[in-house]
Point group: C2
Chain length 229, copies 2
DNA sequence: CGATTGCAGATTGTCTACAATCTGCAATCG
DNA sequence: CGATTGCAGATTGTAGACAATCTGCAATCG
């Protein structure tokens, strides 16, 4: 065995640029909520945190701005973006369309191996529901949809979809995790998987779109509850 | 009249950052073909061209990399991205889904004023067809679809759609402009407009998706012709 | 007392300089 | 003669420095 399946550390450091590494790092800070929505992002602080100068940080922030995770005000710096319900709705509009496409493609392309993987994740989610592990369910749910779009076999679609998902994550981080009934959510997952297993692309597409519609409704319920509290 | 309808130059320079301005400038260079597909982009050259240092240029290039107009190789610099037919196909897959959504939304949201604007552009395209002005038709076609997505009333959708469109422009710049029959293309436009005017959202969506499907087919014919030549 | 003005500190925007790396070409060696 | 090695020039990657701008607070004025 001459070459390892996993890229060497050497290769990683050589292929990945410093701004690129910083970018994913800052992205994690945002998505994990360590940098809160609306918060000002201090360049010097990040620079010293990552042990670099401000140049690479600024480059990373430009990329994140392009992906709409931060916004930038001249001479005032960059801020973690805040997503309003209205914008989340806009994203869901797109997501519904893409989810239909994803469902269709997965039903057409997915290997039995991949299908097995999807079923396994759904089973794990069932476990999470049983023990009321909201956080665990949330992570598995992300993984599930990530796998789905991946198995659709369209890399550009994967990029677009992940971009939108990140925007929604920004929204969820505002505290409202779930509009209730994640057990229902997983039931929907199972229906999708069944359609995929049956290679019924039209049905899989319809069901995955419907799942997005329901997700949006759950988000609205959560938002309403958050306001009422 | 205290304030002008068009933002002042002062306001523009104060709100738009230098990297932002440079970004759109470089984007134009790429989309107009002045920077050819696959070509290496020299930072210093751009810097002296725009009269700045390399810092802002690098920031702009990071943003363009995030929007997939350029790719970056460590220690070798950035290159204008080359789009293969396969990737163009991937983009069209997404575009079909989005176009359907756009058609639906426009039929629901567009004002009669906006509808009038769309008809005007279609009429201009008819003129372009009559005098065989391929270049003019192309520009009008871009404008038409840009207006459509704008009138769909979803800003995030507009962003996503334009991002994909830029990717396809990159492809068209490789020389293959048109797979024949842009007169047919405008016929499809008219059918879409008719459905929009009738406020038949489902039909408008179906027709605009179909238009994307036909566009893709035209692209394939053009690509095949380019290979055969 | 409220509004305005004028600092001091902090932060961003940009530039210049320098180290690390790559590229092409010529000289060298087998 | 083909392959390898070793520069010289060019280009990228990063750091550090400085100017421009913002922010908050205190002093001043009406």
């Amino acid at each position: 065995m001459a070459t390892a399946a996993v890229p060497t550390v050497l290769q990683l450091l050589q292929s990945n640029s410093l701004p690129g590494l910083v970018q994913v790092e800052i992205e994690q800070l945002i998505l994990r909520g360590e940098l809160a929505s609306g918060q000002h992002v201090n360049e010097s602080e990040l620079a010293s945190r990552f042990g670099t100068s401000r140049g690479p940080i600024r480059e990373a922030l430009r990329a994140l701005e392009e992906s709409r995770l931060v916004r930038s005000e001249k001479n005032r710096g960059v801020f973690v973006r805040e997503i309003s319900v209205a914008e989340a709705d806009e994203i869901y509009d797109i997501r519904e369309a893409l989810d239909q496409l994803i469902g269709q493609r997965v039903a057409e392309c997915a290997t039995t191996e991949q299908l097995r993987g999807l079923k396994a994740v759904v089973a794990e989610m069932d476990d999470a529901v049983r023990v009321q592990d909201v956080k665990g369910y949330h992570a598995l749910n992300l993984k599930f949809h990530d796998m789905l779009v991946d198995f659709a076999g369209n890399s550009r679609l994967t990029e677009s979809y992940r971009l939108l998902t990140k925007g929604l994550l920004l929204f969820r981080l505002r505290g409202l995790q779930d509009g209730g009934g994640f057990a229902v959510s997983n039931t929907e997952h199972k229906a999708v998987i069944a359609a995929v297993a049956a290679r019924d692309s039209s049905r899989a597409g319809r069901l995955l779109r419907q799942h997005a519609v329901e997700s949006r409704a759950r988000m609205h319920r959560a938002a309403a509850a958050a306001v009422a509290e």
